[in-house]
């Protein structure tokens, strides 16, 4: 490395060391100086960040292209909503029901999809995603169809004396979702660094070699889909709680495609990158939704433009704008 390169690398390290606490402080203070409406949007964005984080374990870490991740996000939310409003069970068991339903579905999808490799895996996840979306659309007695399900949860008691209020623009909801995202980031980092994570990265690097070394590649793929599915379900549950209702939009194929775009924009495998990209993009889409009816068209155009012009993500864009390569991240 040239002396200039070393200086630049040190500069990047210093910048990152300063940026991270600044970002955390900014996020921590945000609900105190933005409007309640924006607080609500930010809460939703954090939940979608958790969703994108869970998908990064699948796409970024393991290299699996799944087009059914929003299915798990939505099924988690629906599981909780159905538990509370249709089965009449209380809050925490309903949350567990949602997570269990998503994990079980992730296992089923994984079980059948890993039987086919490469493009077959992708198409199987597309098939499952479409099938669940169709069922959610027509089984209105269970899912509420187009109207969705109104949750009617306004207060959740975390610990004695510590309540989270799920009302529009609530600060406690914002912090609860942010805390869950932080926990999930920590857990994901540990997971990726663990021997299990090493095996996942090995599968991404060279699937054939991983299986020749004795790793049961199919089982790892199913397991990572189940773990990420449970994380996605938590994201879906938090998103639904912050919005106050569950709708078919949460499990559409469209959302599965969006999370792929966010992951590419943020940098696959970086964990934090997709979270930040998801937050930015979902706030942008929220804005588009408010100003135009054509936001689905816009999502299509964004998807296409990202593939054509930003395949290296926002990191790649920054590198190009700065005219040099930013230090590679671990």
């Amino acid at each position: 490395m040239t002396p200039g390169g070393a200086r630049r690398a040190r500069g990047a390290r210093v910048a990152r060391a300063a940026l991270a606490p600044a970002g955390i402080v900014l996020l921590a203070l945000a609900p105190w100086w933005v409007s309640p409406y924006l607080t609500l949007s930010l809460t939703a964005a954090l939940a979608l960040g958790l969703f994108a984080l869970s998908y990064d374990l699948v796409l970024g870490v393991t290299g699996l292209i799944s087009v059914s991740h929003a299915t798990l996000f939505g099924v988690g939310a629906y599981g909780m909503a159905i538990g509370m409003t249709r089965l009449g069970i209380s809050f925490w068991p309903s949350v567990l029901l949602g997570i269990a339903a998503a994990a079980a579905l992730a296992w089923v999808i994984g079980f059948f999809s890993v039987r086919t490799s490469g493009p077959g895996f992708i198409i199987m996840t597309v098939i499952f995603a479409h099938a669940v979306e169709s069922v959610a659309n027509v089984w209105t007695s269970l899912t509420g169809g187009e109207n969705g399900i109104v949750l009617g949860v306004s207060r959740v008691s975390l610990l004695p004396g510590v309540d989270v209020h799920f009302t529009a623009g609530s600060r406690s909801a914002y912090y609860a979702v942010a805390a869950c995202l932080g926990l999930a980031l920590w857990a994901s980092r540990r997971l990726v660094a663990s021997p299990f994570g090493l095996a996942l990265r090995g599968i991404k690097g060279n699937e054939l070699r991983a299986s020749a070394l004795g790793y049961r590649v199919g089982r790892y793929k199913i397991l990572v889909n189940v773990i990420a599915g449970a994380f996605a379900a938590v994201g879906g549950i938090l998103y639904a709680l912050s919005q106050g209702f569950v709708s078919v939009d949460l499990l559409r194929v469209l959302l599965s495609i969006e999370v792929i775009v966010w992951t590419i924009l943020g940098g696959p495998g970086t964990l934090l990158g997709p979270v930040l990209a998801a937050m930015l993009m979902s706030l942008g889409i929220e804005y588009l939704r408010a100003v135009t009816h054509q936001y689905v068209f816009a999502i299509g155009a964004i998807t296409l433009l990202v593939v054509l012009f930003l395949p290296q993500g926002l990191g790649g864009l920054i590198e190009r704008l700065l005219g040099r390569s930013v230090e590679a991240r671990p």
């Binding site: 796409l59 059948f112 086919t116 198409i123 479409h130 659309n137 495609i257 792929i260 299509g300 998807t303």
Partner: protein
């Protein structure tokens, strides 16, 4: 249920199956030869239906004149998309082509929605009347769909099997680099494959239009079944997609005697899952 109902639905299943086969064979061809999953294939089918409707509205008097016009229109759109969107990302990983074609599909769907509105269009049956078929009388147009569809599928199959382009297509599918080294114009082969796949989907949409009506989401509704058919037939297997199409058509039609449409879709998914357990490499793999 009487035997008549079952026979009637078996015949209906064949007409559904031919339409599914027309869509699925294009998807399987594009994968087998160009290594990419066309997520916008359902929209090409939808455009075929709209094309026929549009041609009839602007004054083309005859359905059988409108159909080739619609197919040509869709092929032009398809090749335009290939030239502008897909060609630049042709050597990218499947993830990128998947996203790009999905984006194109959304744009086409939303574009049609914005131009023609959300309401379903209908066109009259181009062939009316009933044909006496053993114990019951059967709508003649459905028989025409079956005949025309099967003939065109067979023609496309023969093109792949027998013509010079067919030999090139199969050579490219086996080894792209080697084929290119031997002087085959690979890019032109891709154009032919993409055009052929687009044409088959458009024909499917045009034939389906008088039966099922026309709407902006008809493509995304049929794509689930089309992908199930592709997987049953074995990805990249042309004959497999035809047999799979007829099989799923029969499952949907016979299932419709007892089931709601979505339940029939799930039955089709069930058939796929059982087959995946029994024959993970596709229906015909190993039998060829």
């Amino acid at each position: 249920m009487t035997a008549d109902v079952l026979l009637l639905q078996l015949a209906n299943g064949l007409s559904f199956g031919v339409i599914f086969a027309l869509i699925a064979s294009g998807i399987t061809l594009m994968w087998g030869i160009m290594d990419f999953i066309n997520m916008s294939h359902g929209e090409l089918y939808m455009l075929g239906a709209y094309g026929v409707w549009l041609a009839l509205v602007v004054g083309v008097g005859n359905f059988w004149l409108a159909l080739p016009l619609a197919v040509v229109g869709v092929v032009v759109i398809g090749l335009g998309l290939r030239a502008t969107v897909l060609r630049p990302i042709f050597d990218r990983p499947p993830l990128h082509t998947l996203l790009a074609t999905y984006g194109v599909g959304l744009i086409l769907q939303q574009g049609v929605l914005a131009i023609f509105g959300p309401f379903a269009k209908e066109i009259a049956l181009p062939v009316t009347g009933l044909v006496v078929l053993g114990p019951f009388r059967y709508p003649a147009y459905r028989l025409v769909v079956i005949a025309v569809g099967l003939v065109l599928i067979a023609a496309a199959g023969l093109l792949i099997q027998r013509s010079t382009y067919g030999i090139w297509i199969r050579a490219v599918a086996q080894d792209r680099a080697m084929t290119a080294a031997l002087g085959v114009p690979v890019s032109r082969v891709y154009t032919v494959v993409f055009g052929l796949g687009s044409a088959l989907a458009a024909i499917g949409g045009a034939l389906a239009a008088p039966l099922f009506g026309i709407g902006p989401t008809m493509g995304s509704e049929v794509i689930l079944l089309a992908f199930i058919v592709v997987m049953i037939g074995g990805l990249g297997n042309y004959l497999g997609s035809v047999i799979g199409g007829v099989l799923i058509g029969e499952v949907i039609a016979v299932g419709a005697i007892w089931l709601q449409p979505t339940q029939a879709y799930l039955a089709a998914l069930g058939v796929l899952l059982v087959l995946l357990l029994l024959r993970p490499a596709g229906l015909l793999r190993g039998a060829r």
